[in-house]
Symmetry: C2
Subunit: 201 residues, 2 copies
Amino acid sequence: MSFSPLIDELIEAFRCLPGVGQKSAQRMSLHLLERNRQGGRKLGESLAEALEKIGNCRYCRNLTEEQSCRICANPARDQTLCCVVETPADVLAIEQAGAYRGVYFVLMGHLSPIDGIGPEQLGIPLLLERVAAAGFRELILACNATVEGDATAWYIAEQLRGAEVEVSRIAHGVPVGGELEYTDGGTLSHAFAGRTAMKQA
Amino acid sequence: MSFSPLIDELIEAFRCLPGVGQKSAQRMSLHLLERNRQGGRKLGESLAEALEKIGNCRYCRNLTEEQSCRICANPARDQTLCCVVETPADVLAIEQAGAYRGVYFVLMGHLSPIDGIGPEQLGIPLLLERVAAAGFRELILACNATVEGDATAWYIAEQLRGAEVEVSRIAHGVPVGGELEYTDGGTLSHAFAGRTAMKQA
């Protein structure tokens, strides 16, 4: 049994969203049709406009509808410090922490040869050009602390060996508020290897 | 901190979906922009088309893009038996069970005076007209087994008192596969009150 062809099509279309299966897609479709047609129309228009106009920043590859994103275009940011992250959501997380005032470079993924994602797809040639042209004093590699993220960070560091830029990796260790008892072995190993001297006040 | 205006607008638009908060909306927006623009475009088009073309069946008020829905237009269905339900999703659930071969009437909600939902909003005048015109032999009230669903069922039964149609309510009792130990008191009371004689084979 199914609804009418148009409703079936709408349910199928909603399934392209992450974490949305048949039941959720059905619930979303019926909710919009029964109770919130105004919101549905707004969503359709927003989607069409966003997909048409949003591209990548020419400098950092972050998503934006302008030529360059808000952060690259902001003269108050430190343009000599660049943080390399995997996704736009990572940029948001770092901005919300508020501890960083430099610019970013967004890879839009990590190295994954099995999915056909190599250095080209991650814009690493563009990153190397930027490093040469922009005169960064430091490049902070903030790829995820996963096998793929680590491999990506190593690859970038390798490409920049001998370049006039300091390359660093964000610290891995026990998260703030975390208890040693519940911390996994890999994290503890990193925490010990990366220990820092206590400064005397 | 926020993304660009267009991305913020898209995230806000996704929040009209049921069960979608700020984080899920952000995840959906970035997923479509980064990884599935084709699916996003399809979703936008489907939404626009569905919202423009889908209305209510003139007979049963179910959602459809035709004048009358598939079920009302199907000559193989028993047109003298009508089941009253609250939502199109209820129609789907009953159809999937496969135990019913009549037609439906979809209220699109239940009586809820505090939200301004009275008999007019539920199309009850149209239901009464249909009962008079279509010559139903039985009207099965399958509103939800909630306080509001019960009130709606009672209201409809009251309106049809004296009419030439048998009005019934679906049975409430222990669900199939359910164990008495874990069944609530209200359900058990209904199960006892609605007990039926065991037929001898």
